[in-house]
Symmetry: C2
Subunit: 244 residues, 2 copies
DNA sequence: CGCTATTTTGACAGCCGTCAATGAACGTGG
DNA sequence: CCACGTTCATTGACGGCTGTCAAAATAGCG
């Protein structure tokens, strides 16, 4: 059966990067070769490791090459809010181009591989290419739009709607990366993660997922998730777009 | 008694704009004069009018010159989530530089005055000034950060924390605009607005506000709000930054 | 001064959180 | 390959924060 996601070997050159199409830097001619020059190395982490802790100084810019990670904020009393689930090809932090210290932390969900770029060199490179600068602006705008959709989810949607939307959204994002096998895909998130993404407790997430399963809308087994009834799931997700 | 905010007369030239310091375009030498060239007019609306409806084509870019407004999303069944409370000096929509159609609507809270700029001319102008382009990127990054703080509020904070934080946040923003009179400031938001900002019902907002008032933390009268006990309010707001 | 919008209050329900215990799954090492 | 500890999922009982509904009181507006 199709291997959906298996630990990928880091390519020697960005030109052969299998997740290149999903990355920040687009496909303008010549860009890839120049980006490759800026790659200063790669790093690997095991599942559950902290990749960056809020407030630390940022020396390098990273791209997630393989595996899943989360970007999150912690409150002083331990409550956690996950801001984004990071998938292969995602830039881990565009804002680090502007800020040397960031207001969130990053943690690996699965084992991950990162591509590392020198921050100062990357800034210089981008600023020397106004078209690229504009493109990054466009990516930030997209980020804002996605955040505003999530804000609406947390403010105005029920737990069932939120869970259904998260599943559909991840399915879309993985589809764009060719990381799905029909309606089945890798799903390494723990229920605690889902809760922290959606503003729910893991106990309640468990209840909701069980109901979706009992209603034959989804199926879960060994870190994989299958959408059994996409229309039904969308009906539960309620109106409004499901952003990719 | 200090007049806190009174209907301002639109200046003939941006150079004398009293909210200029809070606007998007900064203070680099010569910029203001050039921006003034791009201003194609002004518009006024009465309270509660819709300024922009989700999905409409955007021809002009607006800056809020006077009054309060809200940027919000509606769900098909009528639920509403307010994304931002717009104050004088705010750009109404930076994303419109990149997208011709926007995923939210804008409505006046009080009577408002807007400054209007031609969209195409503004895009051309910004793209011809890489330093300005970079500055806008920086503003977008800030927007992302604020949204992520609000996401954490909605996902992980109680109603009391949310209300206290909203009040403190508005106080900070108005302070930066010199629009406060000590700890007193104009507060034209209805409790329905507050609920739609914070993901609560207006009924519950009423209960929370009353408790804050009974505890002598705040006082409200005739569209004004006074912070009586800032430390107490911050204690209720809980840990974590209160973004300006 | 009459009308509308808004706030407040009470009763009640329910979604979701908390706490705790059980069991399954997983990872690691002998 | 099995043993064992840790992490994770599930379930039940219970509570409370917040929503819903409705009505009355107030404030604001033309």
């Amino acid at each position: 059966m199709g291997i959906i996601r298996k630990a990928l070997t880091l390519p020697g050159h960005c030109r052969s990067c299998p997740v290149g199409a999903a990355t920040a830097y687009g496909d303008a001619p010549g860009i890839v070769a120049q980006i490759a020059q800026l790659r200063s190395g790669t790093r690997q982490f095991r599942a559950r490791r902290t990749l960056y802790r809020e407030g630390e100084s940022v020396r390098h810019i990273y791209t997630l090459f393989d595996g899943w990670a989360i970007r999150f904020k912690m409150l002083p009393d331990g409550r956690r809010q996950i801001l984004t689930v990071l998938l292969p090809g995602d830039a881990i932090s565009l804002p680090s181009l502007w800020a040397e210290r960031l207001d969130f932390s990053v943690q690996a969900v699965t084992a991950v591989s990162l591509c590392e770029f020198d921050r100062a060199a990357m800034i210089e490179f981008i600023r020397s290419r106004p078209d690229l600068e504009w493109r990054i602006g466009s990516m930030l705008v997209r980020e804002v739009d996605l955040l505003e959709q999530r804000l609406t989810d947390l403010g105005r949607r029920t737990a069932h709607e939120r869970v259904a939307r998260l599943i559909l959204r991840l399915y879309e994002r993985l589809t764009m990366r060719n990381a799905t096998d029909g309606l089945t895909f890798d799903f390494p998130l723990r229920q605690q993660h889902i809760g922290d993404v959606l503003g729910l407790t893991s106990v309640h997430v468990s209840r909701v997922l069980r109901q979706l399963q009992t209603a034959r809308l989804i199926d879960r087994s060994s870190q994989k998730l299958t959408i059994l009834n996409q229309d039904g799931l969308k009906a539960i997700a309620g109106g409004g777009d499901i952003p990719g």
